[in-house]
Symmetry: C2
Subunit: 338 residues, 2 copies
DNA sequence: TTGAAAGCGATACCAA
DNA sequence: TTGGTATCGCTTTCAA
């Protein structure tokens, strides 16, 4: 109450413009229903008073919060940064706001976050983790809020999804390395305990590995408790150089991991790609020709965010419109490291 | 209204627990005022019904939105990612949510964003740009919402601030390069047209350059319209190698820029740091010993976010408590590139 | 310790 | 084209 007095309300604007509150509301939401002159008078009053509508009140009355909630594991490591940027920008351009929660990689705290965010009755929710606790799924389904899962195409989506097949991406990169003549190919990036996306990439790699008649893929120790991705990559590369010195290619689960692996290989005097090829996934900003020149799986991160936002808002309008699952695909970009 | 029916309300819980709405409210906000048995009965009802309080209604009634709005230029490029992560985490742990807006580097759209965000009546606002349009400042001051400016210590803060002196950081790195024996030192990273932080780093560099009796610092062309920081760094390095071949050290405005410069130097056969030293700013994840091994100005990005959140929430409680400006400092970390 | 009633600031519905 | 009134779900204030 103490603060409220500082804010101009719709009633103040109405008085100033000598109309009723509802007319002010119409000027804001459906100006075509108001006579132009009235409209202008109201707008003048709005400007004069510096009126900013109270979204909470609007949400309560209309049942629409004009907010979309997004849950990402973390913003660090640049995997989701561009996706969140794209998401936020699209939403804003379409009159919505982004409520952001970072969850860490545990699905327990995702459930908690979902519940907290639901307090704001978002018009949609974006989930970056494809594994959800039963609680979270039940909660989401019970409310009927549109959901988009991103960065993977779940076999059994909660609702909608936009992303690509991490499994196929893993396979594709494995085949690429095979096709350029590599045979002793290792994968760096979290084994069975990693997050689903990373696991799927490994599964794809392993599947192709076997399909190509190379036998069983090697398992490279990978310490997920180390916070820095590049450090994890470097340590894994060190292990490879020591224990599998004849390895001629390394596929890393992300460009950040690949950076660490690449630098470690260089420090150890290895010639990349001649002696050992190194590839990543993501096509982060630093991977380009002017940066690392990294051969990688390019993923349209920003587009995933924009598309997720669009799907949510379209669903809100159309009711059920739009395809449920959108595959944005991926592309192997060959640069200097493989 | 259509959606509303799907949600359990406080009234539903009250009926289930055979108490009044207000008692349910008290169980949620001040349980100590409710008899333990009643409390448990209500909590059981809450669980049974899966009740999630409507924040919009609460905000409307109490005047507190329990949201903090943050405006950052962009999440890409890893400069602000850890700050936003820290901000969001701290807020969530203290019962608040993060409303995120990315603004791009123009201050016109910052004003617009501020106004939109204000619709949600945030309990606090975090501004990452230290230059604001008069409109934005007036709006912010008029509402009395606590503000924290981050990543720089403004001479004339709007309200509170947490960051470090970009000018001193620039000076410190220039002196460091001088102290290790370099004399032909260039700066890469946006001239007078860049954002304030970047400009201040340059100013610090230039100031120290002159103070050390080196004359006028060279101006390296830098194309800010190129979206990729590492590409900008690489192109600037290329220019230096061609036009100022005797340069023996380069200070880059961020680690992302430094990465591009470093890779370009390597591609051109330069030995780093023997022939040319390269340094950055930020101490991004990939800059560490297991990554680039970059000598850089380490800045506590995550801590800036956490501190900003803390200042805002403390102000909310204490009224005016806490210092207005917090200098988190910086530190030059010497690694392999200088 | 608990409850009844009165808002908070907007929108929806129905009239004029 | 415009306005009155009820209402959204919660908290505040005041009583019991």
């Amino acid at each position: 109450m103490t603060l409220a007095s500082k804010w101009v309300t719709m009633g103040d604007v109405a008085r100033e413009a000598k109309v009723s509150k509802i007319t002010v509301s119409r000027v804001l939401r459906s100006p075509e229903k108001v006579r132009p002159e009235t409209c202008e008078r109201v707008q003048a009053a709005i400007r004069a008073l510096g009126y900013v509508p109270d979204e909470a009140a609007g949400a309560l009355a209309s049942g629409e919060s004009r907010m979309v909630a997004a849950i990402v594991p973390t913003l660090e490591g640049s995997t989701f940064a561009s996706t969140v940027d794209g998401l936020g920008q699209y939403l804003r351009e379409h009159g919505h706001q982004l409520l952001l929660g970072s969850a860490g990689y545990s699905s327990a705290s995702e459930a908690e976050l979902v519940s907290t965010l639901f307090g704001h009755r978002p018009d949609g929710i974006v989930l970056s983790n494809s594994e959800h606790s039963p609680d979270a799924v039940a909660l989401v389904k019970g409310t009927g809020i549109p959901v988009v899962e991103i960065w993977e195409l779940p076999a059994d989506p909660v609702d909608m999804a936009v992303g690509f097949s991490n499994l196929e991406a893993g396979q594709a990169m494995m085949r690429f390395l095979f096709d350029i003549g590599r045979r002793r190919i290792a994968y760096i990036g979290g084994g069975p305990t990693a997050n689903l996306r990373s696991r799927l990439r490994f599964d794809g790699y392993a599947k192709a590995y076997r399909a190509l008649g190379l036998g069983e893929p090697p398992i490279v120790p990978y310490d997920r408790t180390i916070p820095s991705a590049s450090e994890r990559g470097a340590l894994a590369m060190r292990w490879i150089l020591k224990n599998r010195p004849d390895t001629d290619a390394v596929f890393c689960s992300s460009d950040a991991v690949a950076l660490g692996a690449l630098e470690e290989a260089r420090r150890r005097g290895k010639c990349v790609p001649k002696e050992i090829a190194i590839t990543g996934l993501g096509d982060f900003e630093f991977a380009g020709d002017y940066g690392l020149g990294l051969t990688t799986v390019k993923v349209p991160g920003r587009r995933i965010g924009e598309t997720a936002a669009r799907m949510l808002l379209e669903r809100k309008l159309d009711g059920e419109g739009g395809p449920k699952v959108i595959d944005v695909g991926f592309e192997i970009v060959r640069r200097g490291t493989a």
